[in-house]
């Protein structure tokens, strides 16, 4: 499939015109005219003959996800270094196939601008617009919430600039709200559910009663739905699914009803501060020491993040969840990245850092392969792109919805951590084939290549 694709792209219109134009004009015209001739249509922020291009790193620098944003920014800076041929090259040494040569992109040095999303749609879009209108970036990437990802992705589609999403887990990002110009490397709620299923069956059996507490917004709902589908397929019953206001702080009024509900599993569809608070408080209510229906009461946090899990302290010990990536993985790509990142900053990268680092490399690589910054060509390179050596096993950017398909990690809060970073233990690497789904189930439309 990928070989077919590369053949097609070699025979693409652009390639053809390039060859033809070169043949016709080579004798009489200076080189830059030739380039202009085949650069096809002009497009927004065309770097033209400039010696450098700019990336826009749009991450939360203030607000609840500021630490995650800071880690994303570190990863981006590292990616820029590696693309420009500085440092030890990181995943450039392990990723295959790879067109990048360590001399920037198409010989242009990569520079970057930064902005603060504040984890608010309006602020994120304002920041992205600044990058596009004022700084002239060719690509925007980053973010730590699905609301922001969907908002910025929509904007980038309108403006004709490619968006490589950061940390966003809602099914909608590459489902209902997918866009031609938006790409997501991070996994999603459906994959979390599919990956957790077999593990839950093994650990907790098929006769369980689950109680959901769900953050009352779109991400929470999609996760609740995905996890419910999985657990109900296992034969579990869903006792109740209760929506909790975002940022509720004190969840006691939602936790006490769990005690008498007859449920023996609590599923927390919360992220960030909500997750930390609800988990901490659920443990305080003694849920984990309880016996219900003759079984040990269990708590599940479907989406785990190491940075966030630190905030819950000892309470996460033994709790199951999924994560996109973890620094303790032993494949070549992960090791190369952890090495570069660790030597640069003195601590291991988070999953947010890994996904954003890979996203930056993927974009750069697609441009290099396309031989042009013209977005439709770059998009075509990314669509259906198969690669390995980026830390998640063989991975594919599915053309139908711009979602990356790769292995998913089922993790457990480490009972006996050997260091301050050893918070999560990888329980199982669930192969990609288990978490795949039909792109049609979530609807949505990618929209046109040309805008």
């Amino acid at each position: 499939m990928s070989e077919d694709k590369s053949k097609i792209s070699e025979l693409s219109r652009r390639g053809f015109i390039k060859v033809g134009a070169t043949a016709v004009t080579a004798a009489s015209m200076p080189m830059f005219f030739v380039k202009d001739a085949w650069a096809a249509k002009d497009f927004r922020n065309n770097p033209g003959n400039a010696g450098s291009v700019k990336f826009g790193f749009n991450v939360p620098q203030t607000g609840a996800y500021a630490d995650e944003g800071a880690d994303e920014l570190r990863a981006y800076k590292l990616a820029v270094k590696h693309i420009n041929g500085e440092g030890d090259g990181g995943m450039l040494n392990t990723m295959k196939p790879l067109s990048l040569k360590g001399n920037g992109i198409l010989g242009k040095k990569v520079e970057y601008v930064t902005g603060d999303t504040q984890t608010k749609s309006d602020a994120a879009r304002a920041s992205a617009k600044r990058m596009i209108e004022k700084d002239g970036v060719v690509m925007i990437t980053g973010g730590s919430s699905s609301g922001v990802a969907v908002a910025v992705q929509g904007l980038c589609q309108e403006m004709g600039v490619i968006f490589m999403a950061g940390l966003t887990h809602s099914n909608d990002t590459t489902g209902k709200d997918k866009r031609r110009y938006g790409f997501r490397h991070f996994f999603n709620a459906y994959m979390s559910g599919a990956a957790l299923g077999p593990v839950l069956q093994k650990e907790m059996g098929t006769e369980r009663k689950a109680y959901h507490l769900t953050a009352d917004y779109t991400w929470g709902w999609t996760q609740e739905e995905s996890i419910k589908n999985t657990t109900e397929a296992l034969g579990w019953q869903t006792t109740a699914a209760v929506r909790t206001p975002v940022g509720a702080g004190d969840f006691s009024q939602y936790i006490t009803p769990v005690l008498n509900s007859g449920a023996d599993v609590l599923i927390l569809n919360h992220y960030g501060k909500d997750m930390i608070n609800s988990l901490t408080q659920a443990v305080q209510f003694g849920l984990r020491d309880k016996q219900v229906n003759g079984k040990n009461f269990e708590i599940i946090v479907p989406l785990f993040s190491r940075l966030m899990a630190q905030g819950a302290g000892d309470n996460i010990k033994g709790i199951l969840g999924t994560t996109n990536w973890h620094w303790s993985l032993q494949d070549e790509g992960s090791k190369a990245f952890v090495k570069s990142f660790g030597q640069e900053y003195g601590f291991p990268p988070s999953q947010a850092a890994q996904t954003t680092y890979v996203q930056a490399l993927l974009y750069a690589n697609a441009v290099e392969s396309a031989g042009s910054f013209y977005p439709p060509e770059v998009i075509k390179q990314l669509e259906g792109f198969k690669f390995d050596g980026a830390g998640n096993g063989p991975t594919e950017y599915r053309a139908d919805d711009h979602q990356c398909f790769k292995d998913v990690l089922v993790v457990r809060g480490n009972e006996a951590p050997s260091s301050q970073f050893d918070i999560l233990k990888v329980e199982q690497i669930v192969p990609r084939s288990q978490v795949e789904y039909d792109a049609k189930i979530f609807g949505g439309e990618l929209g046109p290549y040309e805008v």
Binding site: T114, D122, A123, S127, K129, V246
Partner: protein, 378 residues
Amino acid sequence: MIVPSIRNDWVIMAIFTAVVLTAPLWLTPVGAGYPDLLQKFAIFGIFAIGFNILFGLTGYLSFGHAVFLGVGSYTAVWSFKLLTMNVLPAVIFATLLAGVFAVVIGYVSLRRSGIYFSILTLAFAQMSYNMAYSVLTPITNGETGLQLTMNDPRILDGPAGQGLPSTTLFGLDMSGYAGFYFCAVMLIIAFFISLRIFRSPFGLKLLAIKSNQTRMKYTGFNTRPYLLTAFVISGMYAGLAGSLMAITDPLAGAERMQWTASGEVVLMTILGGTGTLLGPLFGAGIIKYFENIFSAMNDGRLHEIFSFLPDWLENIVVAITGEFVGDGWHLTLGLLFMIVVIFLPGGVVEGIRRANGFLRRLVQSSGTNTATLAAEKE
């Protein structure tokens, strides 16, 4: 010879119009001359001017004004989705619906005064925000925000071409500089109306309510209708600003109604100078400038800026200033609030007035007649 203060409103308007329309030119050197930020200046300028009609004239501090901004945005986007991508119906419907909301919320909230009034408006706004974020998702699309889609009916526009349509004014695309000039024209109109209100008997009555409502009431004067009118006008300003936000960027999110958004316009107005004509504009400009420009600075940029310094000094300066920009821009904003209010009671406008007074004394003593315009705009 000293030129007396310009009393003629038309001259003020002419100067104001010229300054606003040339904003892309004189804001470029400070890094703010790009469409999105220019639009934001104009939009939040309108929002703050409108807020000032209520707070500056009557002294009633609404802590929930962002709800009208949100209503305006949602209405505008729905107008794009259902009717047409033309911006005029969006502006009209948004302003009117925000006015209707203002009538309801104002009628209830104005039964109380002082902090009780503030908390009533806050409560309405927070209820709207929380509902829009969760249970009203069918109308507001919740956290993700209300967006245009390919299968919106748009009954007046006919079938859409490829891709999402963009907002237009009879065919003129409302993104980029065209969008800014549309907002700028709205700002000029909004400013003119505000100027007329400040100068009118109605404005004087509002000021009288501010200085002593009890006395007004004892003289047999029913203050409530006047207050409600001011509240509704200022709510409509916010609705207009909200619709402009949707016009320049067709997305409406619930965060626009959160208390922090209401708080922001309060801060803008106080920072610039409560009750002055231009103060709120300055306040809006300063806060939006910090939010968009200071937050985007990183060490790389700082090294560029301070590259004229010797290396060792450059590194020290960058290390220190680095704490105040990028992820530290909140800190700078907080310090600015404190410094302005400690040293300039009356806000930025007071600072300009003082600087102008100083200049004028200087001019007087040197005998030339180059009067500065900064003060006259007041």
